[in-house]
Symmetry: C2
Subunit: 237 residues, 2 copies
DNA sequence: ATAATAAGTTAGATTGATCTAATAAAATTA
DNA sequence: TAATTTTATTAGATCAATCTAACTTATTAT
């Protein structure tokens, strides 16, 4: 079934033509998966795609050839797959629709966050910019969903995260390390020894009233305790 | 693509089993069309279906066989096609989703009534009773859409029209002739001469203050003027 | 470095929804 | 009623998305 459209640039005799190209529901789902894998720093391989979409490798193989023909990805036999700018844009377009829908279902229709995903998986393929723009408006052009995931804007631009000190964080929330406020060697060494690199996750488990120290879980593995000073110097988002 | 589910009754060894049967998006669209044709008192023929759905007759022919196997319709070669009770229920289920969606898009998302249909055609196939029940709730369980079309309830029951005299109607609304309060031959002849049969549409264009006469448009074609007496005797819904 | 294992590819089949061309039945007109 | 026209059906092709089985290339382990 054909669902989406993609703006397609074509050069003939040195002149540029723009035309809309149909994108099937299946293709949209592949692009979404490719984008997600790339974001998770996983290799975009035939195997990974097949597992993500729960289909067999030969199916992925032929689809990947089609997506390459349509210039959504770069693909050479036996090599790793890469999204092109066009593919990334298309993926972000769907992602926008998905996240706006989730937020809408949750905020406006008061559906539970757990049931919202499956419905959004269906609605994200609806072809109507007006529909999603209205939802976007109604929600006040949100930049992040309740999981802290960024919502691309109408031009496919991702909002920039604004980081803040971990000490401003809330209990039971998961943050990502975005930077440090203190660049002393000893502090950086301390982080190193805990395996805390940029992008590492920090979950706040407990906060002590008396000294504002925090019990945290790092990268969903190591548990430890951070003093208020440490918390103030860790910039997260 | 599989979208909907249909409750299916099966008898084995005199025992009844219920199971859910998949209904494809295409099948849903056929059922909708069949129901509409039946409602318009058009013959449900291969040709009519083909024209409605803008596909070729042989395609319809094979689909019709499949729908018959699934017990959504009764079909015999060269004979007229009939919806079964199961088919009718399924059609009403989709119709409900369609009309609730239209109303929702118009009332809640403030989309124009003209742009609402195409979006609803897509959303009606979303598989989530929770989603549509929420919308239904939010709209206060509406029984009719802005065109006066009935919205089936969650059990597939159509609301009963309550007819009222056209003289109680409002400007710019479209009504359907449901009966007459005066059965005099001359009155009926008058209606006849205007091509006003049961189900004919009457749109109120203007209402004169001084004598309550109405400028109306009949069947979206003929324009004329009805006296208050005529309006009082036309029962519409 | 070679053997074993994992990942990727090709070939060919299947299913659902569609088509065209050819044929058959039903309805209409002369 | 016979001829003509309309409608319905059958047969066979195509296309997208999927599969299994068999084969090839790349990676890993011994």
């Amino acid at each position: 079934m054909l669902t989406g459209l993609s703006l397609f640039e074509m050069r003939v005799n040195n002149r540029i033509f723009y035309l809309y190209q149909m994108v099937s529901l299946t293709e949209e789902n592949y692009l979404k998966t490719l984008y997600r894998l790339a974001g998770e720093n996983q290799e975009i391989s035939v195997k990974n795609i097949a597992e993500s979409l729960n289909i067999k490798m030969p199916t992925v193989n032929s689809m990947v050839k089609k997506l390459a023909e349509k210039k959504f990805i770069r693909y050479e036999k036996y090599k790793a797959i890469e999204l092109t700018e066009k593919g990334r844009k298309q993926a972000l377009y769907i992602l926008r629709k998905h996240r706006l829908t989730e937020l809408f279902l949750s905020e406006v229709l008061s559906l539970g966050w757990e049931e919202v995903h499956d419905i959004a998986e269906q609605i994200e393929h609806i072809q109507s910019d007006r529909f999603f723009d209205r939802i976007d408006e109604m929600l006040g052009h949100p930049q992040f969903d309740p999981h802290g995931e960024p919502i691309p804007d109408a031009n496919g631009k991702l909002p920039v995260y604004k980081s803040f000190p971990l000490s401003d964080g809330r209990i039971n929330k998961v943050y990502k390390l975005a930077g440090v406020a203190n660049h002393d060697g000893s502090f950086l060494q301390f982080l190193d020894s805990l395996g805390l690199t940029l992008g590492a996750t920090i979950e706040i488990k407990e906060i002590q009233e008396f000294d504002k120290s925090m019990s945290v879980k790092l990268n969903n593995k190591t548990k430890t305790i951070f003093s208020f000073t440490v918390c103030r110097n860790l910039l997260v988002m």
